[in-house]
């Protein structure tokens, strides 16, 4: 469990971090919380020559509301997201998701930026971020761009970020009106990665679903939206009966992996079961439950 030799660079400003990234690009890995990177380095699954540690870069750790958007700095920990009163009120889906990641130690160290940039296909955030149609901000010396999360994550451990780009911010909507959200995570043990995770976000208007978003993690190479479920429900009566019917569509088109934890078939089934549970709970919240 000893990694090969590598160099650690500790920038003290964002500018410096971006310069180092430009210089070392492909040979560098960013160290944020380290909960995925360090085990992978110890197992020699990744062998970066340079590790750029972001812990001393100021200004990457915040949760702020800006109009209809909530901006979250990349170095914000899962624990900070879990305990944010702003998110509890205006984006409880992200807050609930963070509360279900790993264990207390992981939540105290792991960061949202690190998690998304790592793009583990069984990570928890991507379900919620996909359902929320969230974006990430990528910055380089040449400028910055905003990319939708479901376009940013392209496959297992594979993203749209260029070697010189740093994920600096996550943007989620500030939710209001008659909405409800829920994240349902199927795990083997409470501290594990999701076998399947389903995030639901619904808005209700006059007894009908006016907006439905369902994001799934653990069911394929990258997070996906259950669009057929969403389309089936919008405009329908906001009831458990509607959900019951629509949730079975959650597994349409999925080809989940089989591994030691679960077969592909079981994951498909669980996508339906958890979609139903997440939507039911989200609806009950939207109705003020």
């Amino acid at each position: 469990m000893y990694p090969p030799e590598f160099k650690v660079l500790v920038p003290s400003s964002l500018e410096e971090a971006l310069k180092l990234l430009k210089e070392h690009g492909d040979n560098a890995k960013i160290l944020a919380g380290g909960h995925s990177l360090i085990p992978m380095m110890r197992l020699r699954l990744v062998k970066p020559e340079v590790v750029i540690y972001l812990g001393k870069v100021p200004g990457l750790r915040y949760i702020r509301e800006n109009g209809s958007t909530i901006k979250i700095g990349a170095m914000t920990t899962h624990g900070e997201i879990e305990s944010s009163s702003l998110l509890a009120e205006k984006n409880p889906l992200l807050q609930e998701t963070a509360s279900k990641i790993g264990d207390l130690q992981v939540r105290n160290m792991g960061t949202i930026g690190g998690s998304i940039a790592h793009a583990d296909p069984a990570a928890d955030y991507p379900a919620a971020l996909t359902a929320l149609e969230a974006t990430v901000v990528l910055k380089s010396l040449d400028g910055e761009r905003e990319v939708k999360v479901d376009e940013f994550i392209q496959g297992p451990y594979f993203t749209d970020a260029r070697p010189d780009e740093l994920l600096v911010e996550v943007r989620v909507p500030s939710l209001s009106g008659r909405f409800g959200t829920a994240y349902e995570k199927l795990y083997f043990r409470a501290t594990d990665f999701a076998i399947v995770g389903v995030a639901a976000y619904v808005e209700v208007d006059g007894g009908a679903f006016s907006r439905v978003r369902v994001g799934l993690t653990g069911v394929g190479d990258k997070p996906v939206r259950a669009r057929q479920v969403e389309e089936e429900l919008v405009g329908r009566e906001a009831s458990e009966a509607s959900i019951e019917k629509a949730a079975d569509l959650a597994s349409e088109g999925l080809e989940p992996p089989s591994d030691v934890r679960a077969s592909s078939e079981y994951r498909k089934k669980m996508a339906e079961v958890l979609t139903k549970r997440a939507l039911t709970r989200a609806l009950s919240k939207a109705k003020g439950g």
């Binding site: 000893y2 090969p4 020699r44 264990d103 083997f188 043990r189 409470a190 990665f193 079961v273």
Partner: protein
């Protein structure tokens, strides 16, 4: 006779563990904390194939790498370290593989470097040319004619085979009113100690000192003297603090001989500590035992005969061939079974060798018989507790020799079952669960009645020394790895000697502090090791009694003892305190005082003792996902006299949680190609605090045994009793939709059963 004072002050009470303050403050000193001047680091190159011929091992690139001091292969140690040979048909097991590897993880070469990073870098440069051979993966298929062989010597890959029989099975089966049959299996386990194995060795002036994370330092010393072709003048083996062992640190492993050899060869200390992945493939596995059984009975539920076979997948070398035999010997369980015939088979596969793991054969045997009794009850439509009651060995039959020759020492199984049903409120639980099921919740209650064997021989040792300053030092040959036995030993000695516990110091785990010892495993430490402590204290007191007679000026026959002082039984106010007497002995005898105030005991437990009891599990199944959660757990155990309830509780709760792992979470899985799949703690599912039941209720019953302190072993009860109780609870929750045949039970299997029952 001095043992009559056990319990007057400390024993039987929940005294806080002496071990804890140091361990909880982080002052424990584990293997990896040992750092010696000039120390080198070893890294092993391991087989990446389950089964292959080794054509060539080339260490030349590794030797050129920075900081590398040595790189060795089989040819470098041939004739220098003797391989292990076995009674079973098997090729020898080489410390570094010769021309063939038989499991993923088998050591092939070793690299030694200035630091662990460089050692691992260089290990990557060792080139091994393998010619892959067809792997043997499934133990049942392994026995088919024409199957590839793990060892050429072993026909049909059978490492061990024995038929146990008693009574007239053929007759009983022929006239049986009912016969139930089933095939059962418990999956393969990895002990997953928090601390992996590891070894440090240092050689100087002909003396070899070895620190090793082990349960058996004395055995390790003897093994080194035997394995090393040119043994050192002396070997001292030290067991530092050990962060979990669970039976998997009993064996003396290849690395643990190679590293001491390297220290001798290179003249510098050498350390090896494996990664988790490495530990998971190179440390012996447990369980992986199955049974095919028929049980013949009367319509009234009286068991007349048991017939079948017990099969273990023992992996690549025959270290654990005794495991299915142990499972078979305890198979009759707590029941009067007078006709039985069981074929015991240990089968080779290309997997990590099997050896002891908490319970070692008893969890398997008890799971099998308890499952079969539940099946019989279901078949007959009888209450499982009633079927058990009808078959339990009765108290007047004690001591009772089960039909495969194990002699249960004592106990009242029938009334313990009845008492347990009421004390643990089993009927109320069942009623509650059935009400909840009617409302749609899948909750279930299950229970198991077990008996198990503990506290075996051949012996255990202790040396007790009363010091001039009034303190007491006890060195023991047993080797606790966190159980808290030192506290128990101190309680026993403090009671007998009439001293405060704080003045008793217990040391162990070093062949230089006590010359012989067996070790901590098989639920034997406080019973057998405690017997040695009691005997040694008694010897010292007896010697001091005659001294006391001299001091008091009375014949020895008139000297009586109570804790802390000798007195004249005719004039009880004539007293000499123990501490005064000891000081006097030191003053008068100087150096040779130890002949009086120090005694050594090699205690023979004579016969094993058998704890027994009733365990009850309450589970809830998630109808949508098939996940099981253990909601509550209750137990009644007869563990003999209790020395310290805190230690007993720790052992039972820990064992039950490990048993929950056996039943629902833990399995070392191998793919069909013979490659292990669960080599990290995220893949191998050790249950955490989050998976523990919310409520655990423990009751103890104390029927004394033949030992002077009357104890039975307690360390493995949980892993023995919990799996069958949980299996039954899951069946109960599912209302008959699933028959549990294999552990761990998977959510998918439950979901499939629920769907097909719909």
């Amino acid at each position: 006779m001095y043992s009559r004072w056990i319990g007057w002050r400390y024993s039987g009470r929940g005294v806080a563990r002496l071990e804890d303050l140091r361990l909880l403050r982080g002052a424990g000193r584990y293997l990896d904390d040992i750092r010696l001047d000039g120390m080198l680091y070893a890294s092993f190159v391991r087989s990446e194939y389950p089964h292959a011929r080794i054509k060539r091992v080339d260490v030349s690139d590794a030797l050129k790498a920075s900081g590398v001091v040595a790189a060795l292969t089989y040819s470098d140690i041939e004739g220098r370290i003797k391989p292990w040979s076995f009674k079973s048909p098997s090729s020898p097991m080489y410390p570094l593989a010769g021309d063939r590897v038989r499991y993923v993880g088998e050591p092939v070469a070793v690299v030694v470097a200035e630091d662990p990073y460089k050692a691992e870098d260089a290990a990557e440069l060792v080139q091994v040319d393998y010619e892959p051979l067809e792997p043997v993966v499934d133990p049942i298929k392994a026995m088919e004619p024409g199957a590839p062989r793990v060892h050429e010597e072993a026909e049909r890959n059978i490492a061990f085979r024995k038929k146990l029989s008693c009574g007239d099975v053929a007759r009983e089966l022929a006239r049986a009113e009912v016969v139930v049959a089933d095939r059962l299996w418990i999956g393969r386990k990895y002990a997953a100690s928090l601390e992996p194995r590891g070894v440090v060795a240092s050689y100087s002036g002909g003396e070899l000192t070895v620190w090793v994370s082990t349960q058996t330092p004395h055995d390790h010393r003897d093994e080194l003297l035997e394995r090393l072709a040119k043994p050192p003048r002396s070997v001292r083996v030290i067991q530092p603090d050990v962060g979990g062992a669970f039976g998997a640190k009993i064996e003396v492993y290849p690395e643990e001989v190679v590293v001491p050899y390297l220290a001798m060869l290179l003249g510098r200390p050498v350390k090896w500590v494996p990664s988790r992945r490495e530990d998971a493939v190179s440390t012996t596995h447990g369980r992986d035992v199955g049974a095919e059984l028929e049980v013949a009975a009367t319509r009234g539920g009286e068991i007349r005969a048991v017939r079948g076979r017990i099969i273990a997948d023992v992996g690549a070398y025959p270290l654990g061939v005794w495991l299915p035999l142990t499972a078979a010997k305890i198979l009759p369980g707590a029941y009067k079974i007078s006709s039985a015939e069981v074929e015991v088979l240990a089968v080779y596969t290309n997997k990590t060798p099997l050896a002891a793991y908490r319970g070692a054969g008893r969890p398997e045997g008890i799971f099998f018989i308890e499952r079969m009794v539940d099946l019989l009850a279901d078949e007959l439509g009888l209450d499982p507790a009633e079927v058990r009651a009808r078959n339990l060995v009765t108290p007047e039959m004690m001591p009772y020799e089960n039909c495969f020759g194990w002699k249960y020492d004592s106990g009242d199984y029938v009334s313990t079952l009845r008492r347990g049903l009421s004390l643990l409120r089993v009927r109320e639980l069942e009623e509650w669960a059935s009400g909840e099921r009617a409302r749609g919740r899948l909750v279930g209650v299950g229970y198991a009645f077990y008996v198990e064997i503990t506290s075996g021989g051949p012996f255990e040792t202790a040396r007790v020394t009363l010091k001039e300053d009034g303190s007491v030092e006890i060195a023991v040959g047993s080797t606790p790895t966190g159980q808290g036995d030192a506290t128990g030993f101190a309680q026993l000695a403090a009671d007998m000697l009439g001293v405060p516990m704080e003045s008793v110091r217990v040391v162990w785990g070093d062949t230089s502090v006590i010359e012989e010892g067996v070790g901590t495993f098989g639920s034997r430490t406080l019973t057998v090791g405690g017997g040695a402590v009691i005997d040694a204290v008694s010897q010292v007191l007896e010697r001091l009694r005659s001294r006391a007679g001299e001091v008091l000026g009375i014949p020895e026959g008139r000297v009586a003892y109570r804790p802390g002082e000798f007195y004249d039984m005719l004039e009880p106010d004539r007293v000499i305190g123990l501490a005064d007497l000891v000081r006097r002995v030191y003053r008068e005898m100087g150096e040779s005082a130890l002949e009086v105030v120090s005694a050594y005991s090699k205690y023979d437990p004579k016969t094993p003792v058998y704890p027994y009891g009733l365990h009850v599990a309450v589970v809830e199944v998630d109808r949508g996902t098939g996940r099981v959660r253990v909601l509550e757990y209750r137990s009644l155990d007869d563990v003999g006299r209790v020395i310290n309830p805190v230690l007993v509780e720790g052992q039972i709760v820990g064992g039950v949680l490990q048993g929950i792992g056996d039943a629902l979470y833990e399995e070392m899985k191998y793919g069909g190609d013979g490659h292990p799949l669960t080599l990290s703690l995220s893949d191998y599912g050790v249950p955490t605090a989050m998976e523990a039941p919310e409520k655990v209720e423990i009751h103890i019953q104390e029927t004394p045994t033949h030992h002077p302190h009357g104890t039975r072993g307690v360390g493995e009860i949980g892993t023995i009793a919990a799996p069958p109780a949980i299996a039954r609870a899951v069946e109960n929750a599912l209302g008959g939709a699933l028959r549990v045949r294999r552990l761990p039970i998977s959510p998918e299997e439950i979901l499939r059963a629920l769907e097909s029952a719909r």
